[in-house]
Amino acid sequence: MKAAVIVFPGSNCDRDLAVAIREVSGREPAMVWHGDSELPGGLDLIAIPGGFSYGDYLRSGAMAARSTVMRAVVEAAGKGVPVLGVCNGFQVLTEAGLLPGALMRNAGLSFVCRTVGLKVENSQSIFTNNFAAGSEISIPVAHHDGNYQADADTLARIEGEGRVAFRYTAEVNGSANDIAGLLNDAGNVLGMMPHPERALEKAHGNQDGRRLFEGLLEAVA
């Protein structure tokens, strides 16, 4: 799997994501700086990491979504290259218009940092094929702005099209319909607030996140 991890000023999960990709695929991903205008050719995955890109100035993900490299990411996504955005990466994807809706301040106003239960709603995507539909997995979250919101028509559409990949099994941040992970209409872009790269090794407490990367490797290899 030939992968690239995008690095913005303020990204802080970029190396964790790179380790996850390397551990699972056996291949070191390219680290691509936000100011680069081109991505490496022939990518099987573009990963947008968690963190606080540009200090969360204006809105979480807003500045990163307008950075130079994102023009190349949007173009690649349009050609069907798989794109995974985790946490701040999910915020960047909504701000860049690759996913509908927006991620707002958590309803309880607190930063939420703990392992949460997720229900796998769609097990047909390249990102979720390693899970059984309806199964429950555990993945850590760590965010302040994870409260997914979209207008009623958009929510009805994404639900109707089966684009909710993961749903929280209990209330976490006020998200509409408890949406934790969302696919684009073509199914090649996934944004999720939980961090699969933090559930990779036995020492992490569980390896449910590893299964996502293993499934993805299987799907794109």
Partner: protein, 80 residues
């Protein structure tokens, strides 16, 4: 020329920050507060040739996320 852009959450979008401010004000003993909504004020210093359409484009492309936010532009012409 100066312009001020007011960015506010759309009506109906839950504003947890506004609600917390509301509770804090009541905690300080202020009563009669019916609702609090928090937003942003962005001040721009612009060349005089900047058109209304330019400022609106800035709002739509970056300053506001129109999925959840509205914006209002207030132009302040420089007095010669």
């Amino acid at each position: 020329m100066k312009a001020r852009v007011f960015v506010t959450l759309k009506p109906g979008v839950l504003d947890p920050q506004g609600r917390a401010i509301h509770h804090a004000l009541e905690g300080l003993g202020f009563d009669g507060i019916e609702s609090v909504r928090a937003g942003k004020l962005i001040e721009l210093e612009l060349a005089d040739r900047t058109s209304d359409a330019d400022i609106e484009a800035m709002c739509r492309k970056l300053l506001a996320n129109t999925v959840i936010e509205n914006f209002r532009i207030e132009r302040q012409e420089t007095v010669a």
